[in-house]
């Protein structure tokens, strides 16, 4: 299994290099450069421009910059972020935890709501709870995520101020003791994570409902029932386990979406994560940061796919049998 995973990861390296090349080319072709973007509306004499270009190596031709970026990447260095005035590595290290918290919480909410909706749907198939849940989940899917975020802010942070409208911590809570700090973080992450997680419940709920309905008719479940397994055990252990295979696969595939596709949610809730970082880097024409963020998200895609496959193999007895 480990050899298989390593092989998959190694074979992804050319894809990653290609992604980096594509990203570089697109930023290069985009109008304006890092200096223009940084200067904003300021007018400066040509000497200042020239000195800025020299300082960031922008006076070199693109292919040379690309080659030196690849070379430094091979040495394990990610370069210097023009727009943040810090090493790219540090910038990413700052944004990644925020993203993982948000994505993790969103994933949990997504999973919980998806399983609940799927179970209810399958249990009350074609009766009113099924229809109600399906309608609800579908409506959530139909809403633009950023709009859902705005509405959540309007309702739950402004009209009824239950949750903070933005940011990751309250003032001063960064330095607080572990438990209050964690509580503060959870309080802040709830609204954006709920928006991000619930908006994509539909796919999971639908897959799970379909899977459960299929499994319920199968032989082994009837056997388990015959052995006297209680309804709870029957549903939660036997049926769910078998029906969750495609769901786990879907979750693995959606990991990168949750991590980097949360851009609009991060914009709405001022969450200092990867999506916003990549977006701002792109606007700033901050090539090293854009490349690092693109490659990182591509790595997540690869890892997500791999995890999906591995988890599927772990859950599905048929796959295991085949391997033995």
């Amino acid at each position: 299994m480990i050899r298989y995973a390593c092989g998959r990861l190694l074979s992804a390296v050319p894809v990653l290099v290609a992604v980096a090349t594509l990203g570089f080319a697109i930023v290069e072709f985009a109008p304006g450069d890092a200096v223009e973007a940084w200067l904003g509306e300021r007018a400066v004499p040509p000497e200042v421009r020239a000195s800025l270009e020299r300082a960031y190596g922008l006076h070199q031709p693109p292919w040379q910059r690309y080659a030196s970026w690849l070379a430094s990447l091979a040495r394990g260095e990610l370069g210097w972020s023009f727009s943040r005035s810090r090493p790219v590595r540090e910038v990413l290290a700052g944004a990644l935890p925020a993203t993982l918290w948000l994505a993790g919480a969103a994933m949990l909410i997504h999973l919980a709501s998806g399983i609940a909706a799927g179970l209810i749907g399958a249990r009350f198939r074609r009766r009113w709870p099924d229809h109600l849940i399906q309608a609800l989940v579908l409506t959530l899917y139909g809403m633009p995520v950023f709009w859902l975020g705005l509405m959540a802010t309007l309702a739950l942070a402004y009209r009824i101020p239950l949750f903070p409208p933005s940011s990751m911590f309250s003032v001063g809570m960064r330095e607080a003791a572990l438990l209050p700090r964690l509580a503060d973080l959870l309080w802040h992450v709830t609204l954006p994570a709920a928006v991000l997680g619930l908006a994509s419940t539909a796919a999971t709920a639908r897959l799970l409902r379909g899977g459960l309905l299929q499994v319920l008719g199968e032989e082994f479940l009837r056997a388990a029932r015959a052995r006297g397994a209680g309804p709870l055990r029957l549903w939660l252990v036997h049926a769910l386990r078998h029906a969750s295979i495609p769901v786990v696969h879907l979750l693995g595939m959606s990991l990168p979406v949750l991590v980097s596709g949360s851009l609009v949610v991060e914009v709405v809730f001022a969450w200092p994560g990867m999506g916003r970082l990549a977006y701002e880097a792109l606007l700033a024409r901050d090539t090293p940061l854009v490349l690092a963020a693109t490659v990182l998200s591509a790595i997540l895609v690869v890892v997500g796919n791999l995890l999906a496959d591995v988890a599927t193999a772990g859950l599905d007895p048929r796959v295991r049998v085949r391997r033995r």
Binding site: P31, A34, E36, L39, E41, R42, P45, S51, S167, A270
Partner: protein, 540 residues
Amino acid sequence: MRAAAAHHPSSLLLAAACALAGCEGRPEQPPAGAGEPRRGGTAVLGTVVDVDNWNEYLSQQAFANALHRRLYPRLAREAPPEPGQPPRFEPELAEAWSFSEDRLALTFRLREASWSDGNPIQASDVRFTWRAQTSPEVGWINASTKEHIREVEARDPRTVVFHFDRAYPEQLADAVTGGVLPEHIFARVPFARWRTHDWSSVRVVSGPFRLAAYRPAEEIVLERNPGYYRAELPRLDRVVFRIVPDISNLLTQLLAGHLDYVDKLPPWEAARLERSGPVRIVEFRVPGFEYIGWNHRREPFDDPRVRRALTLAIDRQGLVDELLRGYGTVCAGPVPSWSAAADPALEPWPHDPGEAERLLREAGFARDSEGRLVRGGRPLALTLATNAGNRLREAVLVKVQEQLRRLGIEVQVASLEMAAFRERNAAGDFDAYVGGWTISGRALRQLFHSQMLPPRGANIVAYRSPRADALLERLDAAKTWEQALPVLRELQRCLHEEQPYTFLYEMPLLAAVAARLQGVSPGPPDDPLAHLEQAWIAVP
């Protein structure tokens, strides 16, 4: 973020501007029972932008500069101006200064003060700072303020002499621009490597505050510098900036009591907050204006009559009433209407579509069967652009589009992201755009002289007028403010008649302040956060 043309604080125009009108905003009434200033407490401020660099000389941002000035004071700073007076400077790190007989040497006497690590602040620090300011490797964007300073001489540890190559009105202002840096810290990194060094870990300061913590895109924490030379200040123990890139979101936090101060409010938000109560709105006058730049390289915008007609067709008072909610005034030219340098005889062009049509017909346009204005078979059509993300300007686009449409001019609008917007403008590849400048003395030359087309200067619209050129040359040669004033007035009349831009309006910086934060009053016009030193938290 407001625009800034060759940002050059406290120079000629400002000097003139502040002399008569005064730069204070609407005076602030302390609420009853606010009591005496007291020490201690944390103020929480909101900002939509993060600091671009913690080294003043590598930064271009107004917000970052406002923070740098809390960490590294200058030798002297412009005092809040008094009506009818030339600009005055009050001591900061220097306790006194004097000019030589020929005004070519300016000698500062440093006060006895020390850096927060205990080292004394010395003349050699001032000299080192000047070397950094003028180093081409550093590339400070305001390096032009130092172009007439030949040498900075550390005569003894507490005496420093600036040698100029000529005498002119803003010598003192130029000499003191920029905070003094501690040489023993900043000289550890050679200038060539400054731009790729992370400056957020420097803790040695001389100002009222020092940086306690910096979490990019999230939070900036300043804490009181106990070694600050004014022992009674600052009053606040800590100042926290919350970085939230959306202003409405910040205001929600302000209303919920999580924030004490948010500035750069859009006017509609200020109007809403003023109605809703618990916070007060403070206005800071800003020497700047918003405008539509017409590309003089392209027909028909090369014709002053057409430009004037376009100005007449746009209801600028309507923009002020409907978009600015009254927080601004229609302007007649680049000089702030409230400044002593403004020509009081000059009125902005009125909103007069009839006269606009007459001028356009005079310029050769006629109406076709569909009601469009046509000349030589070509309808009058244009693309009006601005930088994406500036909601106010995007709203101006939509309003102007509709107003010109009513006159029979087809307008496409485009919000371009900043890098693309700048590149198109610099290349002259546009019809018209909505922009803004924060201006000061030499900016006028940068904006309107025919030799200042990009990339040399900021004459983006390619305005070429012998009359304006001559006036700008005379303005440059003026040795004193009295000599400059009549030329400046003549220049304003010239710009009014030739309308290189459609001057739209001038607008104050609007800040919302929570009741518990007291002592927030506008200071020098180039330093919107100067009040942090004085501000205090009122006991509820």
